[in-house]
Symmetry: C2
Subunit: 691 residues, 2 copies
């Protein structure tokens, strides 16, 4: 569109921003006004998308990392004819999809934003997806490369330097991310900046709206554009500086230059000097207007600052036609989700074999990537601990070394999942906490991400408390719509990796460092929401949860009939402690049923409730059979609390929780299990206290 | 010490590193070996500390941000005569204070490290403390300054540019932080880098051990020292590059240069090229040795690489004598903890007055800083939302604008608390999640930090889900040794701020956005671990929890005697919903007692247990009086779960939980409380379901 129409559109968009926020009585008018020219020019000259088909994989993508500028975001789509003024005037109302910060309720939102500093990582993920990923952008010197080829054995590894696709580099759809200057203080932004440069992601464009003012005061660098320019450049980006981000001529010139820079091996940032509240006298460049709309009595005056507004002007967006042939575009992987001819070459484990769940999970992931071409793996520099080194060797094109930057790793996963991939985010369970804000937001965005957190609990032993994931179950349970899994042996770990792939949404798999014996047959299934019951007579056998009565009957036959009965609910490493305790208790005439609660959320309510109502329970304590939960996790928010919630409204059940409660430290795993009173010994003692 | 002795010490330290890790059977030998020359030279030439008095406030401070290099860390103190070889050989044993990663068990550890990327923030906090803080390093142009002086009214604000103390700049004790190159990928490091430069913290020295190899592969920049140099410089640091970090001459030269750069307005980094595993052939510059010691059968061979080791050489450290007169050093604030002549000018609230708890907390903090000179406030650019703008005006020298960088803000607080200050970390409750890893580590370090998280829950309304803290209670409850508080009205918010100051450890105060009526008298006390009971007849009155029987008796007298009885446990905004429901239920002949559970952790077990055993409870359901919990928080890990834990072993009590369970969105606060079924209406419906 030409500059006179863009000028009209910019006015119209300012009109929208002011009226919708004043009508709503809240909202960030001033933060929206600073980026009007930047976004209007982008949307109606450079941006190419078929808005009637938001899922068109050739569409450019736009992310408002400064999500509080949502009035501008929605106004752009109104200017493009996709929303009416009436729609806008319902902004922030309960029934409206136009929420205070962009959410998936609005079909053009790529991912919810509003927690600052996350958008660039999400954009990086989308940009990687839209150029069909690129294989490992590993910076390797020739020497190292040689060493590796050797040490990696007979399977030659194609190590490619990251870079643009060799064909059609400029044909990749571009991802545009609007950044605020306030959020440049967030380290996560710098993680994304360095990762994008390292991977030479040249279809990623950041637009930095330097409006000088944060929420409560001037930013660290104010209007010093060079401070940002120098930093971006030294981090490996190309920069375009716009001295006046409200001068459409300058903005258009910047976009013209941008066209020569995308697809050229580096990400690009447009850095523009703007003013918060630009164009409205009472707001412009003033403190104390953050998140506040113009009061109704000042609206008329404020609107008069705009001059004549053409309410009928319509913005025309370019379609992504001719970008490249869709047939050349391999992205449509959804058709390939299952290859019916593929047989998962799962490893067969032997009962009693010692295998760490972290290894079983890593091995399963490596295998399953053949079956599920949309699975990609992100690693936080722990691939030699999580056994995903082999995953990288087998699938170098879908394995991303993200280095020690968990926030960006999670944000990238959000972007990848939004474009149809199923990313696995892998690191130590303790370090998942680093990305809690990103995980929280991913939950609100219903992102389809799988997390594998290793080295959970005090059972890691000697490395000490800083490396022990002791709040991960709690953290992931509190994420909206999440699934939380915790296998005890290799078979269940292997099976649960595939269950995660098949399940939509945020899934977390907690795996452990030490080896544990295989206790399930390879044929055993581990549906999410299930559990496994172990009676003393059935150690190596396995059952489905539906077989409860048979199981208890068979237990009854083989075991002695005891009056002292107890249910021990465990998962992961404590399952083995529970099984040891079970054998110990039998000697004292106490009959224990052990439940492997591998699905912590959703938890197997039905089986647990049936258990306390079963024939096993009858004839015991007047108030029903007592339960002991035992977990290698803080007492707050983990397995024990999940169980308490099952029985909260059932006053017949006493639940005794065993969990980590003292400051853990370095030592042998078994010493620590004893010290924290979550070992077989502690279980036996607790049971004896109960009776 | 001279270079020949340093050479001997370096050998000895290598000997220690190898023997202690091989004896332990685990530990990061190779990551320790790369920094031996850097740390030996630092410790025995530049570093000045009285090791017999670790609390001497003139001591330099050393933080191993790469905490996995703990073998080197402990070996330094052995070389200085503070540990024996026997001590070292107990490394990583259960009974030893020499843990896998440094912890406070070892008296020279400043703060636990091991989660990478946190040490520089902690160092920054200590460096700020050791130069007696500096007031607000606010970058303000003259115009802005004028605007502000005006808009801030009659009280003139002394805005000082951040910078070194004008007297004795080089006399400040220095803080040295050993950084690994792998952790440079963490955004939190860049947050610390930019904050230190912005505040001109020139007694902070980073030493970057560029050993090329991360845990699982080469880092992004390998041995490219210039990549780091350029980045640090553009972020405002001075740099010293050491081309061979194993050449003691070069290292000593670097420290000599350092002496000319500290105290000169900028932080300084020494960037040294090193080799992982240096000095030991089998390890040096090799992959696949991360975190693995030399196997016992290879130890002799490895030690032979060192040549002759002088086991008797002793390192001599300089004392901080003459640095500056301790009498000039204002840091000894512990003597000033309470000024007996000071009277807290607390605001008197009127019953029924509408005040947001966030405002009451901010106002209380402002007032209390006069009484508690060791309190400092860190703000994540939300001071106009948390009413701490006034705190800044009243105490500019103890108010730190940390911008939008919650991880660094928390790390700095750890450092400040380690040097005796009591830092308040303030932001939205939702954004506390950004710093979960730092908060987790702060808990393990028993840091004395107070967090105030505002805008909790769906009751924020229109801003939408991204801004709603819905997992903060869960997160803070799962932090080791934490205290979690949640006031409903202004009086309780005000009182709890002071309770937090008086309580040691991690404390979290959850405050809300909307105004709520004052319901407590100004004389009411809110001890941590307490609760308040509201019967229908006693709306505006207040009681101590000990008065339970009187309260219930008086309720009995004034109310009708009902057979249908229920206890409603609430906190914060839901307390008002519970009180509304209480009145509603009375009409239907249901007697409800409402508990204000302002102390979520520790929770008032005694009162809650007494309540269900009280005369109030008698004659109701066979199984005791039912409980309803209601909270503006996800169902997982919040108030409801805290209550479940009180009654887990008491099978007489049914607990019905009301909590946020649907995806929240923008809307009016009351609409959202209704939508999430945590409003008075939902409580009444739930109660009717129960009976």
């Amino acid at each position: 569109m030409d500059i006179s129409n863009l000028t009209k559109l910019a006015k119209l968009i300012r009109y929208y921003i002011l009226t919708m926020t004043t009508t709503a009585g809240s909202g960030h008018a001033s933060s929206s006004l600073s980026a009007v020219e930047l976004m209007t020019a982008l949307f109606f000259t450079e941006f190419r998308a078929d808005l009637d088909n938001p899922d068109n994989s050739n569409n450019d993508r736009l992310i408002f990392s400064k999500g509080h500028a949502s009035p501008l975001f929605y106004s752009l789509y109104a200017a493009a004819g996709k929303l009416t003024l009436d729609n806008l005037l319902k902004y922030r109302k309960f029934e409206s999809p136009l929420e205070g910060h962009p959410t998936l309720e609005f079909p053009y939102t790529e991912a919810p934003t509003g927690s600052l500093g996350q958008g660039l990582s999400i954009g990086l993920g989308e940009a990687l997806a839209l150029r069909n990923l690129t294989g490992p952008a590993t910076r390797v010197s020739q020497t190292t490369l040689q060493n590796r080829s050797t040490s990696w054995g007979s399977r030659p590894v194609k190590l490619r330097l990251g870079g643009p696709l060799s064909r059609h580099p400029s044909d990749n759809p571009n991802v545009f991310v609007l950044l605020g200057d306030g959020e440049m203080a967030e380290g996560s932004v710098w993680e994304a900046i360095q990762a994008a440069a390292f991977r030479k992601v040249d279809n990623l464009v950041a637009i930095l709206d330097v409006n000088r003012l944060g929420q409560s005061q001037e930013t660290m660098f104010g209007h010093d554009l060079s401070a940002y320019k120098k930093r971006f450049e030294v981090f490996g980006w190309r920069t375009i500086v716009v001295k006046n981000g409200h001068d459409l001529k300058q903005v258009l010139k910047a976009f013209k230059k941008l066209r020569t820079l995308t697809g050229r091996g580096k990400p690009v940032v447009i850095i523009a000097k703007t003013f918060k509240g630009y164009g409205i006298k009472v707001l412009q460049n003033q403190d104390n207007w953050h998140g506040k709309p113009i009061p109704p009595d000042l609206l008329k005056q404020a609107l008069s600052d705009l001059g004549k507004v053409d309410l009928d002007v319509k913005g025309i967006m370019q379609k992504p036609i001719g970008r490249r042939e869709i047939s050349n575009f391999k992205f449509q992987i959804s058709n390939k989700i299952q290859n019916p001819n593929y047989k998962f070459q799962k490893r067969n484990y032997k009962i009693g074999e010692s295998v760490a769940t972290r290894q079983a999970a890593g091995d399963a992931l490596t295998e399953l990537m053949d079956k599920y071409p949309q699975v990609v793996v992100l690693d936080g520099d722990v691939k030699n601990s999580l056994y995903t080194e082999n995953t990288q060797k087998a699938h170098p094109d879908r394995f991303f070394e993200m280095f020690i930057a968990e926030q960006n790793m999670t944000g990238v996963a959000v972007g990848l999942s939004r474009r149809g991939y199923i990313p696995f985010v892998t690191t130590f369970s303790a370090f998942m906490t680093r990305a809690f804000d990103q995980i929280r937001m991913a939950g609100l965005g219903k992102a389809n991400i799988k997390f594998i957190g290793s080295h959970a609990g005090v059972s890691i032993g000697e490395d000490g408390a800083s490396q022990m994931g002791l709040e991960d179950l709690s953290m992931f349970r509190s994420v909206f719509g999440s699934t939380v899994l915790y296998p005890a042996d290799a078979v269940s770990a292997q099976k649960l990796v595939e269950e995660m792939i098949k399940r939509q949404g945020i899934c977390y798999l907690r795996v452990a460092r030490p080896v544990t014996p295989v206790i399930y047959e390879n044929s055993e299934e581990f549906p999410i929401g299930g559990s496994k019951i172990h009676t003393l007579s059935s150690r190596s056998a396995s059952w489905r949860s539906g077989d409860l009565s048979n199981k208890i009957a068979s237990s009854r036959k083989s075991g002695t009939r005891n009056d002292k009965k107890i249910v021990i609910i465990a998962a992961g490493v404590t399952l083995y402690e529970a099984l040891k305790a079970q054998a110990e208790l039998e000697k004292d005439g106490i009959e224990a049923i052990v439940v492997d609660c591998y699905s912590v959320k959703p938890i197997d309510k039905k089986t647990l409730k049936n258990l306390v109502r079963s024939s096993f329970a009858r004839g015991t304590l007047a108030n029903g059979v007592p339960i002991i939960t035992v977990e290698d996790h803080w007492s707050e928010g983990g397995l024990g609390d999940a169980v308490l919630n099952v029985f909260s409204e059932n006053p017949e059940v006493k639940v005794y929780k065993l969990a980590v409660s003292k400051m853990p430290h370095s030592g042998k795993p078994q010493e620590l299990l004893d010290f924290e009173e979550i070992s077989a010994k502690a279980i036996v003692e607790k049971v004896k206290e109960v009776f």
